[in-house]
Symmetry: C3
Subunit: 342 residues, 3 copies
């Protein structure tokens, strides 16, 4: 429980209204009630009058009947305040009696390991890290400090995870990359003997997969956020603070530059080079070995700059009119020819 | 074991043939054997003569050598009869000694909880509901009556599920929505403190994910059927009896109207409004904030009415011919010009 | 540990250099060190000079300062040698005390069953097969010899798996197919009472799903390789040695011919017939009931031969020029008309 004054100080905003109200939680602009903090982005300021929240983070305006905190970026301030007001609950430290930790594995004394979780030989679980029930941490894998691994995540052997990283339920890290070589009659497996290196402050969404490298390592940089049901192939390298939306797939050996923004259901072929700060719209497809520069929105399959795609779409949309014009022109030319043959 | 007469009564059809045969199960038109019931849709009636089934549900025709039951909709009658003849086997009620049910959780006495399943604090499992082995039911989550939760499903805290709902293996309900706000150098997580509300008579396919809301609730209405490997983002609302095929993704805050039919691998952007009875063909892509009306088949990316897409495809297919016509016309115009300059 | 001579003999290559060096593992061309074997494909031969590997598999060339083994197909030889040098480690045989094997299930004495894995009534686990922790093997399912089932895989009842097949973490075999029939107000489930038959030498990637048939069987042929997060619908039949990349979905009753190559994120509608040796590029979409012949690369949605797609793309790309030509031609015709009216 904090006062509005304390929240204003925490987010560095300007308070207008009743500084002494107590705030115990957060809510949405439409459904928050007394004692709750909310925020209003500029396009929703008209809904501010009807909110039941005790305090609203806003970027601008005068609201004589309301308690508001003026900040530059209401959503960012809200994100920070919400985390501060109501940190995610965490299980008590300790190894559950129904968990199994192999003798030569190391679990920090203030870490929590849930029931039916196996920490294999030589694995390491860092300080204050929580591994929920039903997880598998393979031999020699290392999870850093302050991480959260949700139920039923599977970490194959030899995977490393940095600090403050969140792994959601059903994630699979370090399964074999998809590498086969035909011998004329069948597909011979190329042993996948590399590893996976996940950085710090990463979040990986439910049921996503990051494959181990054939050789060397598949790597996911610091601060990268990957949504649910994504596929990251072997030997992919994702630079720091890239963001990848749900159901996107990245094929083998592709490099994704730092700070890239990849939409949902994007498909990126193998050996591509997505440069720093690249932006690929949802559903886009990048053929193998392509290079996508940063700073320009790419879209479509094969992906091209959005402006080109829109221009082309406009041209295609004009096709019926163009066909009509062509037909008319042919008639006119025929008329001219007829006239000249007269 | 039922007689053909009993089945005809159950499905409300007209029996032609031997009413006293005993039926113990179901089979396909091509592979059913004696004692089995099958059905034949109108396009497959020519294969009816060769079936080994003892009884066939059909919509029309005369089959003097066969025992048939005439019904309006053979597939619907078959679905009902098959469920009646051979209900899915269910584990015995009770909490397995290797399960863990926290003291303040409630499991109905006639529910079944499998080994290595954790029912967390304050969670509730309703009457006759089966939770298979290896599941996780988070704190405060409520599962209604007569549900089935298959192995290794993960339900995060605070999720509610109605009655008669089926959750397949590997499903993840209530993982954090994908919400981050950039602060200039990194992505700050927007706490996802809302919930997930799943209705009654819902089915959710293997390894699908329904994310918890940022604030308020993500909701899946009564009777909705979601196939495998689908992604439902935070704050999405899916109306009753919508049907969503495999690998489809729905981004945050989108509303899908009741009775909609969404194909496989469809991508729906955030804040879209898919209206009641909308139909989106497989592979379609809906950009953010679009509205799709009901009753018309939409397809393609960006999705448009199927008739428009087909027309445009026809125009594009004619392009080589059009280029040829244009070339010829230019020659003719040149000839005219030459002639006039003579 | 093997000598270079032994490796040359094993792969049937021609050794040039120091035959007595000991090789203990494998590495990449760029990062391998002393005692490691690597390979160089023809496009990377310029990087061979800088490798730290003790021995390199190559197809051609003279390298006086290096120990190389000349082979026809360096990647294939490497795949075989790597597997021989460093076979994947395997847990000790036996049933873990925390596993549950129902009394009438059969586990071969030299199989390994991990903690918290349930082998249900009538199920069978073959010789030397490893079932990792946290798996579920449903009633009556049969897993052959020398298989590996990674953690948290779920096999529903009545599924059969051949020999030497690898099932990765989170895979779900035999969940219900997606079959519903509308009764006017809601979707009535068509009972999915068929089975799943997986062949020998198959590999199925993490979190992929193969649904059970409505009736009869969904089947995956010998030697088929399926990548992560793929969906195989009910009654699909996949022929031997087909290869299917990540996030691809195959809808109900489709047949995929032997030796087909399907890219990533491909969507194949129901009742399609993909013929032997078909090739479908990543992201392609095949509408329901289509037939795709073998031997030609298909791409796009709806998928067509790649050469047609490229031709059409070239025509579309020429549209701005075509519009310009049309405009100019109209001006010229107008000029002719004006001249003739003078």
């Amino acid at each position: 429980m904090k006062t509005v004054r304390e929240i204003a100080e925490f987010v560095g905003g300007t308070l207008k209204g009743d500084a002494d109200q107590h705030i115990h939680g957060v809510g949405s602009l439409d459904h928050a009630g007394p004692g709750e903090l909310t925020y209003a982005e500029s396009t929703y300021l008209d809904r501010l009058a009807a909110t039941g929240a005790s305090c609203v983070l806003v970027a601008e305006g005068e609201y004589p009947d309301r308690t508001v905190i003026l900040v530059d970026n209401p959503r960012l301030a809200f994100a920070r305040a919400a985390q501060w007001l109501a940190p995610a609950p965490s299980p008590a430290a300790g190894i559950h009696p129904e968990a199994l930790v192999q003798r030569d594995a190391v679990v920090a004394p203030d870490a929590a390991v849930g029931a039916w979780t196996l920490i294999e030989h030589g694995a390491h679980v860092g300080r204050r890290t929580v591994v929920y029930p039903g997880c598998y941490v393979g031999a020699g894998s290392r999870i850093g400090d302050d991480c959260v691994v949700f139920p039923r995540a599977v970490i194959y052997p030899g995977v490393t995870v940095g600090d403050r990283t969140v792994i959601h339920a059903g994630v699979v890290l370090g399964a074999d990359g998809f590498g086969f070589v035909p011998d004329g009659s069948r597909h011979v497996k190329v042993p996948q003997s590399g590893s996976v290196e996940i950085g710090s402050d990463v979040e990986i969404g439910a049921n996503s997969c990051v494959d181990r490298a054939a050789l060397d390592a598949t790597s996911v940089g610091d601060g990268v956020k990957i949504d649910n049901l994504c596929q990251v192939g072997h030997n992919v390298r994702i630079g720091a603070h890239a963001i990848i939306s749900a159901q996107t797939g990245v094929a083998g050996s592709t490099q994704i530059g730092g700070g890239s923004t990849i939409g949902g259901q994007v498909g990126i072929g193998d050996h591509c080079r997505i440069e720093e700060g690249a932006i690929i719209g949802s559903g886009g497809g990048i053929p193998s070995r392509k290079r996508i520069p940063g700073g320009v929105v790419y879209w479509g399959t094969p992906a091209r700059p959005l402006s080109d795609v829109k221009l082309q779409q406009a041209h295609v949309a004009r096709l019926p009119k163009m066909a009509e014009e062509l037909k008319q022109l042919r008639a006119e030319v025929q008329a001219l020819k007829d006239r000249l043959s007269d």
